[in-house]
């Protein structure tokens, strides 16, 4: 690729991604270095400034830096690269080629992230502003149609029309259940009780999912605007955002956004000179997974232990402090302003018959392009994992993709062409959940994965009902036994019958869906269970008691990579000669197998 001249804009923006992934990768100092380099620098032909934005999604390549309007994206930018970018790109108008995105398959360089496979197939609705705006600047949000939907609703629509619009759009809850949002609003609005509440569920607890965090951090105003529109539609006077306390930046940006929305007159008394008065308070969660369940969350806001209650009566009738309450998830709220702004029909034109719009997924695990992606409902798993995600890391083999968080299931290779929506995933024995997509390769043990999720759920079970508290513990006990090589064939029957009991008898969705990881792995990967039980062998080399690694002398080139990476000094061998693993010293961490470029390290 030759060096390309950069166009001459009127104003230049350097957008430094400061999402969680990029921050952990060191984007904070990069942003500061840009601010420092730009401050008082009068060499630029046009006004140039730096902005810290939310997550761009392509966390694998972070820290990411975008230059607008030139539309240049730099990857893996380090503090020390900043002066070169200023010198080459901002002053001379030339690209720094080595920092451009390079396609792992074609080895081609891309000037703009928009042209890469990772972004091309995406369709951003909920994430439309993230990575483009400074989340602490309300003007940035306003410049991108911010609070226009609220104005439209309050000034030109009746509350009933707003509810109808959301209903017509076919928006379903993005937090897991997939309940039609419009129906919730309608049910709440039609109650007699004049005291009503709006809640945003930001207690994102699924391990491996971080889309809500990214929205709250990167575009807090869209959530706030969605809630105010709902307040207008259902006649609520108070709202709460329940957010995990661990999400420091999300809490900080929310506080800042609420304050600014108040100053602009979007929150408070007589919003936009109407009769609507609405305020939002932040409640920080205490780190209990069950609080993602709406009734448990309501309990937690009320200052109680976060235990769920049986939903004979829905929160839309009797919710917070006994009053009708609409509770929606962060991503759901982020869709609301778009629906009101551009109309239900436009929104419903995206997606499948039963699932409208887009869905944000956190694409993680053994996939090349780890990150946050948003695609139209109905996109196939194969497109998400292989086209957008770039396939499996280190050229290994795809085994399964886990969707739906701990309550979801594992989907095997032969279902990769499944169009992803609420109904298809449920049919495959999994669920949409909040949108975690965890890609697994042949080095992932499916029995151990089931054990991992059940272990998580056992420790997160609130203990209120017996089927969940005792049942999940029993599942864990059996799965642990199988992973240790002490399982029997009867254990498989017991797993199935106990799972069925829990599904039917548990009080809330946490318990009722807890057997999903067990049942889906039993369904699709039964042979792995049988290997563990009958042959005392973990084919993926994960369960330590059932694993022994060895080096295939036919394939070993004696490169020494495994020896150098072994933390236990268990590998010996001379250069260019076959290496050997000393079993007594081996801690079975798998570093050798992960590092071998010749697939010479194998599982016995």
């Amino acid at each position: 690729m030759t060096q390309t001249q950069v166009n001459n804009p009127d104003k230049r923006m350097i957008l430094v991604c400061c999402g969680t992934g990029c921050l952990a990768n060191g984007s904070g100092p990069v942003y500061e270095a840009f601010c420092h380099a730009l401050e008082g620098n009068d060499q630029f032909e046009v006004e140039t400034f730096a902005k810290a934005t939310g997550c761009n999604g392509l966390c694998e390549k972070g820290p990411l830096v975008k230059i607008l309007p030139d539309d240049i994206t730099y990857c893996h930018v380090k503090e020390e690269d900043v002066s070169e970018i200023v010198e080459q790109t901002l002053l001379k108008g030339e690209l720094v080629n080595r920092l451009l995105y390079r396609d792992p398959a074609t080895k081609q360089y891309y000037r703009s992230h928009h042209d890469t496979n990772f972004y091309k197939k995406q369709h951003k609705v909920a994430l439309r502003n993230i990575g483009e705006i400074d989340p602490t600047a309300v003007q940035d949000y306003l410049d991108r149609d911010g609070y226009r939907a609220l104005k439209k609703a309050v000034k030109t629509m009746t509350p009933g029309e707003v509810v109808e619009e959301v209903l017509k759009a076919g928006l379903r809850g993005r937090g897991g259940g997939g309940f039609p949002t419009g129906l919730k609003w309608k049910a709440c609005a039609s109650t007699d009780d004049p005291q009503r509440y709006v809640i945003c569920n930001g207690d994102e607890g699924d391990p491996g999912a971080f889309m809500d965090r990214s929205i709250l951090e990167g575009d807090p105003h869209t959530v706030i605007e969605g809630m105010i529109i709902c307040a207008y539609a259902i006649g609520a006077s108070a709202g709460y955002i329940y957010v995990r306390d661990e999400y420091d930046l999300a809490v900080k940006n929310l506080i800042c956004a609420i304050e600014k929305a108040k100053k602009c007159g979007y929150l408070g008394k007589n919003i936009l000179e109407s009769d609507l008065s609405f305020d939002i308070e932040i409640v920080r969660g205490g780190g209990a997974f069950v609080c993602g369940e709406e009734t448990a969350l309501i309990n937690s806001i009320q200052g109680n232990v976060g235990e769920p209650w049986d939903k004979y009566v829905f929160p839309t009738e009797k919710g917070l402090w006994g009053h009708p309450t609409v509770i929606n998830n962060v991503e759901t709220w982020a869709n609301v302003p778009v629906i009101v702004n551009f109309g239900a029909e436009k929104f419903a034109s995206i997606g499948t018959e039963g699932s409208k719009g887009t869905k944000v997924f956190s694409l993680v695990g053994k996939v090349v392009n780890t990150g946050l992606v948003e695609v139209p409902m109905g996109t196939t798993l194969r497109e998400i994992i292989f086209d957008i995600g770039g396939g499996i890391q280190n050229g290994r083999k795809f085994k399964a993709v886990q969707t739906g968080g701990p309550s979801g299931g594992c989907i095997p290779e032969n279902l990769l062409d499944l169009p992803v929506d609420f109904d298809n995933l449920s049919q495959a024995g999994s669920m949409m959940g909040s949108g975690g997509l965890i890609v697994m390769d042949d080095r992932t043990c499916m029995v151990e994965v089931a054990r991992y999720y059940v272990n998580f759920l056992a420790s997160e079970s609130c203990g209120k009902c017996v089927p969940c508290r005792e049942g999940i513990s029993l599942l864990l006990e059996i799965l642990t036994r199988i992973c240790e090589g002490k399982g029997t064939m009867e254990d498989l029957d017991l797993l199935e019958s106990m799972s069925s009991t829990i599904q039917q008898a548990a009080l809330c969705a946490l318990g009722r869906t807890a057997p999903n990881p067990v049942l889906s792995t039993l369904k699709y990967f039964r042979d792995e269970y049988l290997e563990h039980i009958n042959n005392h062998r973990c084919p993926s080399g994960v369960c330590k008691d059932l694993t022994e690694f060895y080096i295939d002398p036919e394939l070993c080139t004696g490169c020494g990579r495994c020896r150098r990476n072994c933390p236990a000094d268990a590998i010996t061998g001379e250069k260019k000669k076959t290496h050997v693993i000393e079993i007594s010293k081996c801690i079975k961490c798998g570093e050798c197998i992960n590092n071998c470029k010749f697939q010479a390290v194998k599982v016995k």
């Binding site: 969680t20 992934g21 491996g208 200052g303 780890t370 801690i587 570093e591």
Partner: protein
């Protein structure tokens, strides 16, 4: 020495009072009060629970049930260095269990435990949202990406080295 302890206690008490008084005396603020207390003190001593109970006019049983239900709280002091191993799914399938085992063999602590000398505590967290960096370890707030067992030993030694006076146990 005793004087020092007492003045420390008084200072702690004053700080706790200040935190608690930021909130109206209503039960719905128990969680928020205890989160702020935990952040300030690193754990919730009995005194903190009592003062919270008095402030919101709730029995100790209510406060205690909240403090033991929510994962964010600890009723025992944490170590000088808090290691947080991310055990979210992405980190897990990329070997966080190997790290947790290695921490046990280096320091003799499991998740939720603290070394006898009070140097290290180990906690597991469910997802830090930095899945591209899996497996992730956080030591006193500093994020270490893509940690291998070898890198882990280096990190532990680094933090051990900061405190030469007290030799850590095996």
């Amino acid at each position: 020495m005793i004087m020092a302890v007492n003045s420390q206690q008084i200072a702690d008490r004053q700080a706790m009072e200040k935190i608690i008084n930021r909130y109206p005396p209503e039960r719905r603020f128990i969680l928020a009060i205890m989160q702020d207390l935990q952040k300030h003190l690193n754990y919730l001593p009995k005194e903190a629970l009592k003062m919270t109970a008095d402030h919101v006019n709730a029995p100790m049983t209510v406060i205690f049930s909240m403090a033991t239900f929510y994962k964010a709280f600890s009723l025992v002091p944490k170590g000088r260095v808090v290691l947080k191993a991310c055990d979210g799914t992405a980190c897990h399938i990329k070997g966080s269990n190997v790290l947790i085992d290695e921490i046990y063999s280096c320091l003799g602590i499991k998740p939720g435990e603290t070394t006898a000398d009070g140097d290290f505590s180990l906690e597991t967290v469910n997802c830090l949202g930095a899945c591209a960096l899996a497996p992730v370890l956080v030591a006193n707030g500093k994020v270490y990406p893509k940690v291998t067992p070898a890198a882990l030993r280096k990190i532990i030694n680094e933090y051990r080295g900061q405190d030469n006076d007290s030799n850590t146990s095996e």
